[in-house]
């Protein structure tokens, strides 16, 4: 059929070589009773041309962020991806290879992962980073497990509420699997009250879901006071401007990598990153690439410290992760190389510049920021909406604007809060149009 190269003659020659008359004979070891005796109930095959028309139609039925300005954020941002990222990451040798088990034929992937680890280490201010996780949420989950794995009878993980609700949920799933408990603190004060000798880790997002940046230092400090690990989850672009958590003493820094040169793709595949301080290197989940010398003394790269991993250590592995999100990490690596230190700062600054313009204009409508009108923020913030946020968003959608996200959909206590993110792609005209329509809606 479609991608099977066999001609009828070749097929027959292979049957002959096996001395069988039909492939049926190769399936006789399946118990008669279990065999499927009817065709699969699936639509008939499409030719490539029909398929491309069908998928174009389905794709066309979705609104995409190139068609309308979007103010959605929450860890996934509509950032500009330079054309070279796709042109390079789509090369067949990258796309169609697998985990670099045979280093001699995989130096492309290995060198790129080494670069990725280096860039993430440097951005986060830690000691080392691994090759990639599935996403930000599962990276936080694995961080919690690492902390619980430190033993010493600690059976709780504490998180500040500003952590992305999906991350919170994944952490909950992961730690409960280990028989541990997640506690969520509403505020720094609440956190300080809830942590103790039972706490294995304190999890904090920086900037958090409301755009707050100031809570991290005290949360990290408090974690260490009770002997817990401090885990910070960060938008990596924000770290171009903010003191990295590694420098504040965070033990583990993780995050969602999408903002680094990855398409939104309705949430995946993107990648998670995972960086640690030196004591935790041999506890890190997933692949790690290190420098090695070959028999002729040439420098190259290999998978290293594999004794942590499932294919060697099986039930004693630090994690069950096998396939990771290497290609997405490659896109991020190419992106970071293209924009460089200055470019990444510019992305963040340009976003912040327009976000502050927007915030000011919304303020002039009488709208106030949550949790406090004066809390510092970069390019994402939350607004108290006087009325039904979902209705506001519907109004904006009618006007061809993807408004902010109603945080109340994640958490009842956030009802009425409107999360707005401003990427470097947003223009003054986009923001002005948003403000006008908000004003229109308010005066309806």
């Amino acid at each position: 059929m479609r991608y099977i190269p066999h001609t009828p003659d070749e097929y027959q020659a292979m049957l002959d070589a096996l001395n069988i008359s039909s492939v049926d004979e190769l399936f006789e070891d399946i118990p008669e009773q279990a065999r499927l005796k009817r065709p699969l109930d699936l639509p008939k095959a499409l030719s490539e041309m029909e398929l491309s028309q069908h998928l174009s139609r389905l794709a066309g039925e979705n609104l995409n962020v190139n068609e309308v300005p979007s103010f959605l954020g929450g860890g996934y941002y509509d950032r500009y991806i330079p054309a070279a990222v796709g042109a390079l990451a789509s090369r067949g040798e990258f796309v169609t290879s697998y985990t670099p088990y045979q280093a001699e034929l995989s130096q492309g992937t290995l060198a790129a992962i080494f670069e990725f680890q280096s860039m993430i280490q440097s951005l986060t201010g830690t000691y080392a980073a691994q090759a990639s996780m599935y996403d930000g949420a599962s990276a936080v989950g694995e961080a919690a497990l690492l902390a619980l794995g430190q033993g010493r009878g600690r059976t709780e993980v504490a998180a500040l509420k500003g952590l992305h609700p999906d991350s919170l949920q994944v952490v909950k799933t992961y730690v409960q699997a280990r028989g541990a408990k997640l506690v969520v603190a509403d505020s720094l004060e609440d956190l300080e009250a809830q942590v103790g000798p039972q706490t294995a880790a304190v999890l904090i997002q920086y900037p958090d879901m409301l755009g707050q940046v100031t809570l991290a230092p005290r949360a990290i400090e408090r974690a260490h006071q009770v002997g817990a690990l401090a885990v910070a989850a960060c938008d990596p672009v924000a770290l171009a401007l903010l003191t990295p958590p590694g420098e504040m003493g965070a033990d583990i820094v993780v995050g969602e990598g999408q903002p680094l040169g990855n398409h939104l793709t309705y949430g995946g595949p993107t990648f998670g990153y995972f960086a640690v301080q030196k004591p935790f290197v041999r506890k890190i989940p997933g692949r790690l690439v290190g420098v090695a010398k070959d028999v002729e003394g040439r420098r190259g790269f290999v998978l290293t410290l594999q004794a942590r991993e499932q294919h060697i250590r099986r039930e004693k592995a630090t994690s069950n992760i096998c396939s990771n999100h290497s290609l997405n990490a490659l896109m991020a690596t190419i992106y970071m190389a293209l924009v460089g230190s200055s470019g990444l700062r510019e992305v963040a600054l340009r976003s912040a510049q327009m976000a502050h313009y927007l915030e000011e204009r919304l303020r002039s409508l009488g709208l106030e920021r949550a949790p406090s009108p004066s809390a510092p923020f970069l390019y994402e913030f939350a607004i108290h909406v006087p009325g039904d946020v979902d209705d506001l968003n519907r109004h904006l959608l009618d006007k061809k604007i993807l408004g902010g996200f109603h945080l109340g959909r994640f958490d009842q206590s956030w009802r009425g809060l409107w999360q707005l993110a401003v990427s470097e792609r947003r223009t003054k005209a986009d923001c002005d149009r948003l403000v006008e329509e908000v004003a229109q809606w308010m005066s309806r």
Partner: protein, 487 residues
Amino acid sequence: MDVPLIFEKSRPGRRGVRFEPHSDVASFNLEAHIPAELIRRTPLGLPEVAENDVVRHYTALSTLNYGVDTGFYPLGSCTMKYNPKVNDWAAGLPGFADVHPLQPDSTVQGLLTLLKALEDGLKEISGMDAVSLQPAAGAHGELTGILMIKAYLRDRGENRRTILVPDSAHGTNPATASMAGFEVKVVPSNTRGGVDVDALAQMVDENTAGLMLTNPNTLGLFEEDILAIADIVHQAGGLLYYDGANANAIMGRVRPGDMGFDVVHLNLHKTFSTPHGGGGPGSGPVGVTAKLEPYLPYPRLRQGSEGLYWDYHVGRSIGKVRSYYGNVGVLVRAYAYLRSHGQEGLKAVSETAVLNANYLLKQLSERYRTPYDRTVKHEFVLSLTPQKARGARALDVAKRIIDYGFYPPTVYFPLVVDEALMVEPTETESKETLDRFIEAMRAIDDEIDQNPDVVHEAPHHTVVRRFDEAEAARHPVLTWQQLKGES
């Protein structure tokens, strides 16, 4: 030549892609908005290079990689089949690639339609009653599935603490069971390479939560006793988990649900040919029988009066295992693959994968030992103990295969076979490719006696040759900063 790093091309002040500040709104002064102690002072440490540098560097790196697009990649258990270009094209359409996960459901109906159709297709292929597309990879699907088994048993008031895993299993199986808080017990194989049914019957007890099984197993052998195995586990009150890593062998021929499995994951990057990307992303949807459906991760995709929507009702769900909805870009490719093949196509895929494996095994068995004399499914394992006795380990042979232009098969897995070489040709390889591989394997077998050094020192023509991996692990250098510090 050393393998190059982009950092080595960095020059202070060199620039690639720039983003000028907006000129039509007030400029932004970071110091005025952010507390001084939160303003980053240390350099970001990214390379400072021009676009031309980046293009040349990653173009060059790509050519140091071997992919399916380069040639035959018979890496056992990984199903390195041809990855259709049209599927990549489709996943790149702005209507799929540039959609935000927080968009209202009404704005993504095309995508939700696709995901629903994929769920339905996977249900049919696996014989399950419900599917979640959320897990990001096979191991992630395993975790999801095992947590569902745990939750289901817990709701029935049963605190079963053991997961059984065959000794031939992928490492992810025991690692997953352990991650889910279970104790792992290893079930031995019998002399035919299958689960030792008698031993299994002895092992199950009131603590047995379930058995994780790959079928065909990692030896490429179909578990002939699967119905008995299922009975034993079910009788003991446990559930059966199907690791779909090898589902490429059975589509349209037999379904996990019809074999008695309660939970299934499918590796879309294997069976549904989404590209492996140098290690991922994959995708590991889980399917379950009706009784386990309430435990699937939320949100669930449902049909409402105004179209498809995400149902965030948690109920008895195990919760979420990742953010949002799964690896949608991978799911688009898998859906494209499903629609390209349809009912007859998928069956032909499996049949041809099995035909290729048996043909290859037949030819290779003239020179290489096959630990089990059985029809295989889509892959098989050779034992190179005779070659080892003659002086060449499986690793040597694998490295020498590189010199013949192929990617080596999996080595030293599964653990139940000494000097294992695990070969999976897939259905997209032609007879002449298999014949060339057979010739190479014969030639290498000759070389072991006639020219042993050429085998021991292989590979010879790669950009780098064998590494001192032990030294690399003893003194791990994991970042550019550490590497600079070293030199």
